[in-house]
Symmetry: C2
Subunit: 250 residues, 2 copies
């Protein structure tokens, strides 16, 4: 069964506070990196898989997209998105699992997804579907938790800390052991799927994509001046970003 | 100045013992992975950058290469290679730094390199040169120490160990801090260059390559049965392999 942690009241309350206080990495690291990978979408059609509260759908409209479809499994999130995007033309929001979404072939110029694919068990089917939904030369831009982070989730804490609770290094283990990871994030039993960097890359290639860019970013120096805790994101990459293009057959 | 550790007598003695005793990872992990990435080279021309003792040059000839050029900075290594390849047709060995090698454009169908590029400071120039040396649709197949390993070299030991000297996890730090790393490998002051996975990928793309495959392999189950220490290579990837193709402009 597909997981819907965002409609768990405890999770939703914790997550909402994280996003409101901007103490997480979305605004300072994830969104700038995704934005840097977005193509000119003016007059084009886009799909946001795991659209959450609709912020990215709104940005895609601002960038000139003619139509934007958003998909999220969480009713809570879709309701927030509906409210945010009220009155916007060209928006279609779908409350369903990413894995259940369907679209005609050649529907989109761009498919984008922020930090959602690590919740998807069968990434190969998803990439195959996205390839079909994209127009020729269409782009897939996505981020996932970095495999250096997912590998130990529920097994080891990421940071090794000293007796003063200071971070002394990042812990990696079980890297080649791909598959399910159960961990705690606001609530117990959050399920993610660990895949190696090479599996992500090769699964894209095997399903007709050409890799255009890969990012393992840290926050900007400006952001690091305001929040010195962000310097730790240079010590290991929290996220992996890929820009892949529906390859023209040669 | 380019580094030539392999002509340091202490290093060469230590390295030779490692390779003779087959206690390292070359035979059980590195070579099988490189071999799995090699194209049909029958009747083609190949270049091996950092050819060492010539084992890979010999394999390329066995696979039907018409001509094989080998480049290595170490006189010791090139002498061993000359002895091994005595009497073989189509072999050209060059004792020089990888960075100093030159060739006419469109010379090779395949450029291969095993665990040498992490010694090269300016990988961008090297990739640009290789792109020029390759024929259209020619392939570059190479391995490097994994960025998860180079990041901490000379800073932290890779494995965190407990009081019984057992490996408890792999340590990552300083990942985004690219550049020189000085460490000890048989001798002090071995210089390598840490680059992130994304930098390696993007530098290839920016210099006209298309990524065809990425590997972060462990040893085979058969090899692990004989040498149980190899199971630890599943815990973090020791090497990164890339197969990249000189892209046809579209």
């Amino acid at each position: 069964m597909k997981q819907n942690i965002y409609d768990d009241p405890t999770f939703f309350a914790g997550y909402s506070t994280l996003r409101k206080t901007q103490s997480g990495l979305n605004e300072v690291l994830e969104q700038p990196a995704i934005n840097s990978l977005l193509p000119n979408i003016s007059g084009g059609s886009a799909l946001d898989l795991g659209c959450g509260a609709g912020g990215q759908c709104a940005r895609l409209l601002e960038l000139g997209a003619y139509s934007v479809a958003g998909v999220d499994i969480s009713r809570n999130m879709i309701e927030v998105a509906r409210e945010k995007l009220k009155g916007c033309n060209g928006i279609n929001l779908h409350c369903m699992a990413i894995e259940d979404f369907t679209a005609p072939e050649n529907s989109f110029d761009l498919v984008v997804s922020s930090l959602a694919f690590h919740y998807v068990k069968d990434i190969e089917s998803l990439f195959r579907n996205i390839h079909a939904w994209l127009k020729d030369s269409g782009l897939l831009v996505f981020s996932v938790e970095h495999p250096m982070a997912t590998c130990t989730q529920g097994i080891l804490p990421g940071w090794q800390r000293n007796e003063n609770n200071e971070k002394i290094h990042w812990q990696v283990d079980c890297y080649a052991d791909e598959g399910i990871r159960k961990s705690r994030w606001f609530v117990d039993g959050v399920i993610k799927y660990h895949r190696t960097v090479s599996t992500i890359v090769n699964t894209l290639i095997d399903n007709g994509f050409c890799i255009r860019r890969m990012l393992e970013p840290h926050a900007s120096e400006d952001a690091e001046k305001v929040r010195t805790d962000l310097l730790d994101e240079r010590r290991r990459p929290p996220f992996l970003f890929v820009k892949a293009q529906k390859a023209v057959q040669v």
